[in-house]
Amino acid sequence: MRRIVSLWLPLFPVEQLMRARQKAGEPLPPEAPFALVTAGAKGMRLAAINRVAQRLGLMPGDRLADARARVPDLLSEIHDAKKDEAALLGLARWAERWSPSIMVDKPDGITLDATGIPHLFGGEAPFLDTIRGRLSELGLTVRLALAGNPAATRGLSRFATREGAPVIVPEGGERTALARLPVAALGLSADTVTTLKRLGLKRILDLYPLPRSALARRFRDSTLSGEVLQKLDAALGLTKTPLVPLDPPPRFAVRQSLDEPAITAEVVAFLLRRMTKQLSGQLAQQGCGSTRLTLKLYRVDGSRVAVQAGLASPSTDSEHMARLLEPKLEGTDLGFGIEAATLEASETAAVEPLQTSLAEAGGSPLRDGTALAALADRIANRDDGARLSAFLPVASHLPERAERPVSPFRKERSPAPAIPPDLPRPLLLLAPPEPIAVIAAVPDGPPMHFTWRRAPHRVMKADGPERIDSEWWRALQKAGPARDYYLVEDEIGRRYWLYRQGLYQEAETPPAWFIHGLFP
């Protein structure tokens, strides 16, 4: 006999957000009314609200402006339905501990097939208590029902439960259990529910005595099948509704067993090359590249050792993968020998297939732009990326803010922002800029002579000024005056990037001069 559990998380979006905020160290004040809002046709509307807001009489669907008129201190945040969906899916996977057959019941429910499982937990009631206990620990409110089919449990969890009291319907008891529930518990469309109510058919039991033909004829869904009848039959268990379990997460892993234990690194390296080839084939087939590799070696004594490597850009290149892991094998203790190994692409990302050159079959890594990434991987994997940075361009006019260092294994693959064309920028930027002594024409002429690190330089040529203003929104009160940059060349042809902050006539104190960079 089938036994199905339905979990309804009535406050899921809000509680989900509260959990996230808690984790981020910015918890929501628990006593403040809070709402998640979405943009509707006529302005923002409440999508979900917390208990405080409920107690104040607010409702999902209210206009935010109306809600604010009634509860002026209502906090709100934009609702991210996609995020919720992902979180619900994550929760469902987490719930796989209780049943292998789990279905996400969007937007705020999970259904699981519990056939043959509750006895492991000491019976149906203790089983539901366990689930409820674990979810409460996560900060989630849950309503639970257990019955013989998904449709009935779904309706029961939403309409028959009260907080703290899961509903368990004994085998074959659905007809009685559902009888006094509102027709909405069948999961009908809103229009159908209204019509049924108008007809005086308010509870499910009101439908029982009606001729099936009369129902079938009157209530059809968009596919013209008898909506009410179908849903009723499903809930009463007259038709069988299958549970469609979750797709397994994509996994890229290969395994190799050895007849005879390998005791040298060379053999393991040979093994590794075989495995990277297979893995690379798997990855390429799915259009994925690996950004993290885990090699697990199973020793004959039953213990296990793992080595990992990170990649700067997703790769399917088996040679490259092998080269990253190989050096790490040298220091690995193989014990009394390795009898099996698995290689797993523990993190992956989509890769754009690159056009390889026709002339050089197989493509040249130097030409197709992956060579630099491969080099970076090799250097960085020596010390897990601690000494290597990549620079990402940043859209800022301020030279010192125009790039930022990131880990070579950065996850973000955002396209680089456009760089304004034709800007003379030095190869070496001094951080911070160093003060220099300058002789220049007043008020805003180019420098004629400057002294940097006690060495005098005579300016032979100067181009400028290029005026760069402060980012006023960053330092709201102390936004300094604009800088006037000059590209200058001294008597022996060295080129410098100097700037003057401020103008001679404007400030009481004379403007300061700095050197900010060197040109090749």
């Binding site: 409702m59 509860v71 945040e77 939403r158 308010k202 509870r203 009157r218 059809r220 005026r467 203003d469």
Partner: protein, 1089 residues
């Protein structure tokens, strides 16, 4: 000493790009001593008039121009080709440029413009051009574009260079000079101006973010690198263009060649309406006297004759005959339709004897004593202003007539400049500055109404925001700066500009957001500035209603009325109004007006004029209402403050305020007051009028305030009186109500009140058939009709037309509600049901389906609305049958035999629907019920908790404690009432007016703002037969509504209180997320700010 003329500048009419008002640019140009200033907005001339007017006032040389951003071709994909500056040398060249821009705008969607070099070549004659190079070094593609431009444009062409302190600019300048030499397009210096002063950089950055829909932190290279794009003086330009000084000097030469001024745009009235053999004045005179003979069948009174002669003489002197003829022509068109369109003029010149005789208005000039000269002043060279209201459902016909008669090139709607206001400013600036939605919303709610600095700080703290936070103060400062910035152009509600010659040679015409509408780029102030004719063609719901009422009266009673023939000064009508029995009556049906009526006690037409004008922010803010009422009731003497005898006539104010007992109530009186009592010159008066109209936009009002008060005090008036007068002027600034408008409206007040008084059934039907309009929902209109003894029948497929009708054979008609009351029923389906019925009633749902062919869905709507009672079935049975109808189109073969496609079935007994539930269903499907009031079914419950019914309110003494409960009809929080909320509650007996003071509001805010069914405990306050309940405690009883249609569906028996708290289930969503309000039992109240 050489000079410099800035020839390239964006105003903020290059939306979200230009960072300064045209006036600011002009002011700065004057300050810097520029030789001239040109405004060249991107593909637009919307800012020119403002700059022109300001330049005229400041003595700055102003050059109108435009920047043309050209595309490779006129069809997508649109690829930018080049940018040109164009300045016209004479009137004809200007006209070509406006046509050019018009063409580009008509071609593109609203707010966009698509122009190509071909277009420019076609309209190039008489203009000067300059090529604007792209940023960076000039490269081959640009040089090719230059060659192409030089080949196609044979007018003098220049190359515009800017030195903005960017990298590599010196080299670029040299390269441009070289390119200029090669192409013989001399180099000119411009600063490519975005704002008048470098301080605007921050605001301009914010505008960029709003435009790019990003935050300032994300904006990056979309922002300017520095703040150099401001107006600069000649010395700085010379220094920047060192080595190319001639480029600076050349701008002055060019400016000298550009002598065209917008002042040359002489306006000429169209002469369509004038027959060939007559002068306009002759034609107008003829029409006027002919009209007069018609109006006064018993002979034209001597007084009217004298008025007409005087007015015609003045019209001739000012040469306005064609204006009056144009208005007459529009009105004549409306009247000559097969089904005439009801219309009425209002506005400064409309209430003249001439307009009365021309039929433009139905207000008899002898009834009110308006002086024509007051509206057509000789000093002010402004065109007279007549607005004409038409039935709102048919205004489009008039508009299309105007387009047909004058052509799209000669007729256009005036624009309305939509500007940033308090809230929108804070929202957009906050978003651009990266504030969260929460904080922006909180800020926006605080800044509403613009309180003082201190108040802002306390309110910020109340909202939990830190006033010291630099980011917040930055946002507030920027938001204040952006207030008044134009955001986009919209169409004026109905201001039509008509010209003799092509309108698109005066101003660019673009597409409106609405289909079939074209809009000029200038708004009403711009048009006034240039003296261009505008006729406002407006839509008025009440005219639709009155026309429908007249038709119903003619149909049932056989009596024909028009606006002009309704019997005048009927005492019964005034008695009715004095009782505040005015639901549905034009303008005086609001609660504030209903409170005023019994106090003002109108007895004559002119009292109605005052009634219309007095309940307005102007008189209320100026504290003029109570003095007027006291004087009217004889509680206070009429008193006319007088100046010191040394300064003038002691009676000078009597002449201005005599009609209104010494209290200024009308806009004109406030103006006249400034003129007489504060000695304002016509120029100052004009300034005041403009400052009033644009009160929020520019800060000139403060200076004028000081000036006016100081002058009045100096002339011997009391300071307090002077301040009150000025406050009123400020109030008028927002909602000005001149006497002439009030007079026209008062006429409609009278006519609608007269219909209500004598033909209540027709009046209710007319109102219902013109919905949505007015203040009240159909439920109140029907209830009011019933209270006036009208029998009402519910909608029924065998009795109703689509519209409400008058039926019955008794002495008084019965109001038969129409199928239009059925919620969600399509108009075409409703009409089909009525027409296909003819004299043969439908005997079954199947028959109705076969004869009309309407969708089953529509039949279900009719069934749910209980419209099959005439078949002997109630809504439940009808719905059961309707649901069984086959969804497929009826088959002709079966239809002929009268058979439904499917076999019959056994009878099914459905539970009977209790009356309370019927009422609930009526409200859901018809928004009203004739079966009973929801409160009737809750009366027992109410009694149990000591609720008094509202009929008993009348018997209570002043200050008595009372508890009332009812359905919330209207919630109002007028801006002039400082946070007081007015609520109208209704029960099955009467309505009650609730007043909620701010303190009570704060305690019960959620209930006040959210309840649909409300319980109020408070004290009775009586004044002149008006009863209010001053709320002390308020409770939200909305959940009681669930008792009307008890579903009682909870499986587990729970405590009653718990059930109530959680609401009873029944919707499609489970209990936890539901609240009774979602069970839409009664329509939502109407809430007004």
């Amino acid at each position: 000493m050489t000079g410099f003329a800035e020839l390239q500048a964006f105003t903020n009419f290059t939306f979200l790009e230009g960072g300064s008002h045209p006036e600011e640019l002009v002011g700065q140009a004057k300050h810097l001593g520029l030789a001239a200033l040109a405004v060249t907005d991107r593909n637009s001339m919307a800012g020119l008039v403002r700059a022109h007017a300001s330049a005229k006032a400041n003595g700055v040389r102003f050059i109108p121009g435009v920047r043309l951003d050209l595309m490779q071709s006129e069809t997508p994909p649109l690829i930018g080709f080049a940018s040109l500056l164009a300045w016209p040398r004479d009137r004809a060249a200007y006209g070509r440029l406006t046509r050019l821009v018009s063409r580009g705008q008509r071609r593109a969607a609203k707010g966009k413009c698509i122009l190509t070099l071909d277009d420019v070549a076609e309209f190039q004659d008489g203009s000067l051009f300059a090529i604007v190079p792209p940023p960076g070094m000039p490269k081959a593609p640009f040089l090719a574009v230059m060659t192409e431009i030089c080949r196609r444009i044979d007018q003098p062409t220049y190359l515009a260079a800017s030195m903005l302190r960017k990298a590599g600019e010196r080299a670029r300048l040299n390269a441009l000079a070289e390119a200029a030499r090669k192409h013989r397009t001399p180099l000119i210096a411009t600063n490519d101006v975005l704002y008048h002063h470098p301080d605007r950089r921050m605001l301009q950055d914010v505008l960029t973010c709003i435009r790019e829909k990003c935050t300032i932190a994300e904006a990056g290279f979309r922002l300017e690198v520095n703040s150099e794009r401001h107006l600069k003086p000649v010395e700085e330009m010379l220094q920047l263009f060192r080595g190319q000084e001639h480029a600076v000097e050349r701008t002055v030469e060019i400016a000298e060649r550009l002598s065209f001024s917008l002042a040359e745009l002489h306006y000429e009235y169209p002469d369509e309406p004038v027959p060939a053999h007559l002068t306009p004045q002759q034609h107008l005179t003829e029409l006027t006297w002919a009209g007069a003979r018609e109006r006064y069948a018993d002979g034209i009174p001597a007084k009217v004759r004298a008025m007409l002669e005087k007015e015609l003489a003045l019209i001739e002197k000012l040469d306005y005959a064609r204006y009056f003829l144009t208005v007459h022509d529009i009105v004549r068109f409306a009247r000559s339709r097969e089904q005439p369109i009801l219309c009425q003029g209002r506005g400064s010149a409309a209430n003249s004897a001439v307009c009365y005789c021309l039929g433009v208005t139905a207000v008899d000039p002898t009834e009110i004593d308006l002086l024509f000269e007051r509206f057509l002043s000789e000093e002010r060279k402004e065109p007279p202003d007549i607005d004409v209201d038409f039935e709102h459902e048919r205004r489009e016909e008039v508009i299309q007539y105007l387009y047909d008669r004058y052509g799209r090139e000669r007729a256009g709607l005036a624009a309305t400049v939509i500007t940033y206001r308090g809230r929108s400013a804070v929202r957009e600036v906050g978003k651009a500055m990266g504030l969260s939605e929460d904080v922006t919303a909180a800020l926006a709610s605080i800044l509403w109404g613009g309180p003082s600095q201190e108040l802002t700080e306390t309110r910020l703290k109340e909202k939990g925001l830190d006033p010291g936070d630099p980011l917040l103060s930055q946002v507030i400062a920027l938001a204040e700066e952006i207030i008044g910035f134009p955001r986009h152009l919209s169409q004026h509600v109905g201001g039509f500009v008509l010209t003799k010659r092509r309108l698109d040679e005066t101003v660019p015409i673009g597409n409106a957001a609405m289909e079939d509408r074209t809009v000029i780029e200038w708004d009403k102030d711009d048009i006034d500035e240039l003296g261009i004719l505008k006729v406002d063609v407006l839509g008025l719901g009440m005219l639709t209603c009155i026309r429908k009422c007249f038709a119903l009266i003619a149909g049932w009673h056989g009596v024909h009325y028009t606006l002009a023939t309704v019997p005048r000064e009927d005492p019964e009508v005034y008695e009715m109004l004095c009782r505040a029995d005015s639901i549905g009556v034009f303008q005086v049906e609001s609660r504030a007006q209903m409170n005023m009526l019994p106090r003002l006690r109108p007895k004559t037409f002119y009292d109605l004029v005052i009634e219309v004008a007095i309940v307005r922010p102007g008189p209320i803010q100026g504290d003029m209402v109570h003095p007027y009422l006291r004087r009217r009731q004889g509680l206070e003497p009429e008193d006319y403050p007088a100046p010191d005898p040394a300064f003038g006539n002691r009676d000078e104010l009597y002449a201005v305020l005599g009609k209104t007992k010494g209290v200024p109530l009308f806009q004109e009186q406030a103006m006249k007051l400034a003129m007489v009592a504060a000695d304002f010159t016509p120029g100052e008066l004009n300034e005041l009028r403009k400052a009033m109209a644009t009160f929020k936009r520019r800060g000139t009002i403060g200076r004028l305030e000081q000036k006016m008060i100081a002058r009045m005090v100096e002339r011997g008036y009391e300071r307090g009186f002077a301040e009150r007068c000025f406050n009123q002027i400020k109030g008028f600034g927002e909602y000005g109500f001149p006497e002439s408008h009030a007079a026209s409206f008062a006429h409609l007040v009278y006519v609608s009140a007269w219909i209500k008084c004598h033909y209540p059934a027709a009046f209710a039907a007319g109102l219902l058939n013109s919905q949505p309009m007015g203040f009240y929902a159909p439920a109140q209109i029907v209830r009011d009709a019933e209270e006036h003894g009208v029998a009402v029948n519910a909608p029924d497929v065998n009795r109703s037309d689509f519209d409400a009708t008058l039926t019955g054979s008794g002495p008084q008609p019965v109001l038969q509600l129409g199928l239009r009351s059925v919620d969600g029923l399509k108009e075409t389906d409703g009409r089909l049901v009525a027409t296909r019925r003819g004299d043969r009633p439908y005997d079954s749902l199947t028959a109705l389906r076969q004869r009309t062919g309407i969708a089953v869905h529509s039949i279900e709507r009719l069934a749910a609305a209980d419209a099959f009672r005439s078949l002997g079935i109630d809504r439940r049975q009808a719905l059961w049958q309707a649901k069984a109808l086959s969804r497929a189109k009826p088959l002709p073969l079966f239809a002929a035999q009268g058979i439904e496609g499917q076999g019959s079935e056994g009878p099914v007994t459905l539970p009977e629907m209790p009356l309370a539930e019927q009422v609930v269903n009526d409200y859901q499907t018809l928004k009203l019920s004739l079966k009973g009031h929801p409160m009737r079914f809750l009366r027992e419950d109410c009694r149990a908790i000591g609720v008094t019914d509202m009929a008993a309110l009348k018997g209570l003494r002043n200050n008595a404690l009372v508890t009332v409960a009812g359905v919330v009809l209207v919630r109002q929080r007028p801006g002039s009432a400082e946070g007081v909320v007015f609520i109208t509650l209704e029960d099955e007996f009467a309505i009650a007016n609730i007043v909620v003071w701010p303190k009570t509001l704060e305690t019960y805010r959620a209930a006040v703002m959210g309840a649909r069914l409300m319980l109020v405990k408070g004290r009775v306050q009586r004044q002149d037969d008006i009863i209010h309940v001053i709320a002390q405690r308020i409770e939200d009883l909305t959940h009681w509504l669930a008792r009307l249609a008890p579903d009682d569906l909870l499986v587990n028996p729970v405590a009653r209180a718990d059930e109530v708290k959680r609401g009873s289930p029944g919707g499609s969503r489970p209990a936890l997320n539901r609240h009774p309000r979602q069970n839409r039992i009664i329509p939502k109240s109407r809430d007004f700010q």
